[in-house]
């Protein structure tokens, strides 16, 4: 990155990666199944934890208003 002499190699839009197009198209048939399962279950766990704390710890400690 010799800053005052920019080189095209630094421009991400112009640098192709070595990912094979066909391979990418192949994996894109399954993606984002795993991501949806992983992220979905994590977020669901968060909300379940929230509801449990709300109902089992917060409410029994006495209401505030």
């Amino acid at each position: 990155m010799h800053s005052d002499q920019p080189s095209a190699a630094d421009d991400p839009a112009e640098v192709a990666d070595d990912i094979d197009k066909a391979a990418l198209a192949r994996v894109m048939r399954t993606v984002p199944l795993g991501a949806a399962v992983l992220a979905g279950s994590m977020v669901a766990l968060l909300v379940i934890g929230y509801l449990l704390i709300y109902l089992l710890i917060f409410i029994p400690r006495g209401t505030v208003g």
């Binding site: 949806a36 979905g40 909300v47 709300y54 006495g62 209401t63 505030v64 208003g65």
Partner: protein, 185 residues
């Protein structure tokens, strides 16, 4: 599955993202719905008593003068506790409250910002100079609890706390003037 045109495929990706966003939106609505539901049915709010009071003259007159502090049971049976939070002490330092009855805590400060919580309960409020902080709550278990100052108020902050005695109905007996003090233990 046939190969899609890149732009069609990009739209499918965005469609998937939109589906995810919708699912996430449902979950957020669920968490907010819990808040709205308990606010409507149980009257749960954060303590928000926008009641102005001059911090400079608290000790001269009114309910926060020294000998008006502490627990009072009104003629209608309502329990109100008045507390001063000052550098570096709560007045009074021991607070008697009944179990299983609505209690109103009112706090004010003559100097800087303080805050309180009572361990194991939902009592929590900032005590901001210029305002009366007020918490309505019900204590669900009896015993001695800690009420520390939880906002930094100066070098003596760490030694600033009070004790809260949650009493059963047998122990919580107001005197003729309606005042209740801590039991000596």
């Amino acid at each position: 599955m046939t190969e899609l045109h890149p732009e069609m495929h990009e739209r499918r990706i965005l469609g998937t993202e939109l589906l995810w966003a919708f699912g996430v939106g449902v979950l957020i609505a669920l968490t907010l719905g819990m808040i709205v539901f308990t606010a409507l049915t149980m009257g749960i709010n954060p303590p928000s008593n926008v009641e102005r009071i001059d911090p400079k003259t608290l000790h001269l007159s009114g309910e926060f003068a020294e000998h008006n502090l502490g627990t009072t049971v009104g003629p209608d049976g309502s329990t109100t506790v008045r507390i001063i939070a000052t550098q570096f002490m709560f007045v009074p330092r021991c607070i008697a409250v009944p179990r299983g009855r609505l209690v109103t805590l009112r706090l004010a400060t003559p100097d800087v910002i303080h805050g309180i919580l009572i361990t194991g309960t939902n009592v929590n409020t900032m005590v901001v100079p210029g305002y009366v902080a007020q918490v309505h709550t019900e204590f669900t278990r009896d015993g001695d609890l800690l009420m520390p100052c939880h906002e930094y108020c100066g070098t003596g902050h760490s030694e600033m706390w009070a004790t809260v005695q949650v009493m059963t109905n047998d122990q919580f007996k107001p005197g003729a003037d309606g005042r209740v003090s801590c039991a000596q233990r």
